[in-house]
């Protein structure tokens, strides 16, 4: 049991730090959250810089520890996060890498790594929600194509995406988990309508998507027909694995900024608030250790994160909301001003106990798959 990095890992860290010091000042100014084309260009530009410097494939080409170091150092240096590249780099990419054919890997992976193409996620549906497998979007086979009809919701980056990782029902007669397939749908195909959805934070972070007889080549199916649920579980285990490393580092930085702000505005003199910040410090320190624990475990088991990610996500989602509630108490009435730092973060943190599987679903996963409790009727 240790927390020591190997000389090679330390060397990777040192080289990355050095590169970040030189690369970050050359970045263009950050676009506004509502400027989707601007955000796309900015995020892809950053990915291209990473790719050209040899860091493009770190999200699925490197060992879990190297990935941890990468996310830790980029966040500490204030580098952009994956942004519009999220689905490609952290969902679709790893899925294609693990489950795709040689042709599929050659077609889709290089553009993701080079920062040429953006992916979005077409999993959720209005009538399915947490019961993801209840999805109804139909794909009917017609020659070499699937003809897809239905609708998707909460599709992040849909407006600027080139590809969509799409879950469709290919066998309506089969039990609901068994009739699903995973398709890569080109977003310029005729029959796709994207309508932005405004979140409670006031920005259009995601969209609804309507699919009317959209033709997707059968060759774009990853995994066997009707085996999409298993393929999806691979994707989701990536999402719940190390996806939050950078965010934990960011939360720890926010906490220090909050302490500085509280001392500046006098709130630090309130012992109740100090104790609360102290407890949050313990919380995020522990979450960082849990991350290191999970990464070490993934290192031993060959890289694919397991259900332990659900343990982390449950605790982290809640802690993040508490952090920004504490921020509101540090700010006082200024916490009502959208132009103040942390106010928008407070609003977006509300999604954390809902997105990527609600906390209730995560508790079921922990109870059934780790603790072995029986499934309910």
């Amino acid at each position: 049991m240790d927390l020591a990095y190997t000389p090679e890992e330390e060397e990777f860290r040192a080289r990355l730090r050095e590169w970040l010091r030189e690369a970050l000042p050359t970045l263009p100014p950050k676009p506004s959250p509502d400027d989707w084309p601007g955000r796309r260009a900015y995020d892809l530009g950053w990915q291209r810089m990473l790719h050209d410097a040899g860091y493009g494939d770190v999200h699925w080409g490197a060992s879990p520890t190297v990935r941890l170091i990468f996310l830790e150092e980029t966040e500490k240096a204030g580098a952009p996060y994956v942004g519009a590249g999220f689905v490609g780099l952290l969902h679709a990419g790893p899925t294609v890498a693990a489950e795709g054919t040689a042709e599929q890997r050659a077609r889709w992976l290089p553009p993701i790594l080079r920062g040429d193409e953006v992916w979005c996620q077409g999993f959720s549906e209005p009538d399915a929600g947490s019961d993801l497998a209840a999805l109804r979007t139909r794909a009917r086979r017609d020659g070499d194509d699937y003809v897809v009809t239905g609708s998707k919701i909460w599709t992040s980056h849909a407006e600027v995406a080139d590809w969509c990782e799409l879950l469709v029902r290919t066998d309506p007669e089969a039990p609901k988990h068994r009739g699903i397939s995973w398709l890569a749908m080109p977003m310029d195909a005729p029959g796709i309508t994207v309508r932005p959805l405004k979140t409670l934070a006031g920005s259009a972070e995601f969209a609804e998507m309507f699919l009317d007889e959209v033709r997707v080549p059968v060759a774009n199916r990853v995994g066997a027909e009707n085996d999409g649920w298993r393929v999806t579980m691979v994707t989701l285990s990536f999402e719940r694995g190390t996806a939050f490393v950078g965010e934990v580092v960011a939360c720890r930085r926010v906490l220090r900024e909050l302490a500085v702000e509280a001392r500046k505005n006098g709130r630090w003199d309130d012992p109740a608030l100090r104790r609360r910040l102290g407890r949050l410090n313990a919380e995020f320190r522990a979450l960082w250790r849990l991350t290191q624990w999970n990464v070490s475990e993934a290192e031993l088991t060959g890289g694919v994160p397991g259900v332990g990610g659900s343990v982390f996500k449950l605790r982290y989602s809640h802690a993040r909301q508490e952090l920004y509630d504490a921020a509101a108490d540090v700010l006082g009435p200024e916490s009502l001003d959208l132009d103040r730092p942390w106010v928008l973060d407070r609003l977006s943190s509300l999604s954390y106990t809902i997105a990527a599987g609600t906390s209730q679903i995560q508790r079921n996963i922990v109870a059934e798959r780790i603790l072995g409790l029986p499934k309910g009727r």
Binding site: R263, R274, N281, Q362, A367, P374
Partner: protein
Amino acid sequence: MRFQLTEDQLALRAGVRELLARRFGPQELRAAVDEPGRLDRALWRELGAAGFFALRLPEAHGGVGLGLPEAVLAFEEAGRTLLPGPLVATHLAAGTVPGAATGEAVVAAAGNGLVEWLEQADVVRGDAAGAVPLRSVDPLTPLHRVPAAGTVDPVAVLLTAAEQLGGATRACELAVQHARTREQFGQPIGAFQAIKHLCAEMLVRTETARAAVYAAAVTADPADIHTARLLADEAAVRGARDCLQVHGGMGFTWEFELHLHLKRAWVRTHRAGDATESEETLAAELLAQPI
């Protein structure tokens, strides 16, 4: 980075677990409750012979020569089985107080206004003058109040957190075992989300605390130790309460061991002083380091 138990550490944990299962099982636990205030000296010496107290003492001084991570694993097991006695104080006295390392001597410590096991102790460290007995809530931990508030060794705080982690682990196991087998409304109660979610939260608190306690054992850093303490206290106290809830009326009985876990968890939350100190220290640490 290999932040996982090594083969040797797994073997050590299995060895301690086996020893405690053999020497301090349900019968011995029951006997200890029936005779409050009595310490099993034979068991104490056996723990000494097994190296429990001399675990971190260098081999040159007759110890086992292991480190904090190993001690944490041993104390986690002790917490899991509700092993009574001033374990932490005696462990810390090994190499200083004659007989502590071998379990010949029972050592108590006057920490934060309280002394555990004062009357059974051969040696008391710290200022226990003016000690007044109180009717301890925990039948397995006799307590005295002392006027003088001493300082608490950070290692004692960490080992206490390890005991709390063991207690939290055990409470989670008990709850899950019960939820799998106890049937109500025609199915195991573990199939109901209300029960399922209680159990899941117990595991989440325990595993988060585990990461914090093990990391503090590796670094011995004061902020890590305060973190471990806060997280482990939470996991142990809330875990025992949730376990009680899962057991329903049975959880509220004297016969069932659960109340002993809750009461011991309460005792341990006071061993390292008020939680406020840990929170204030961790708050101050936020300003001490650069962003």
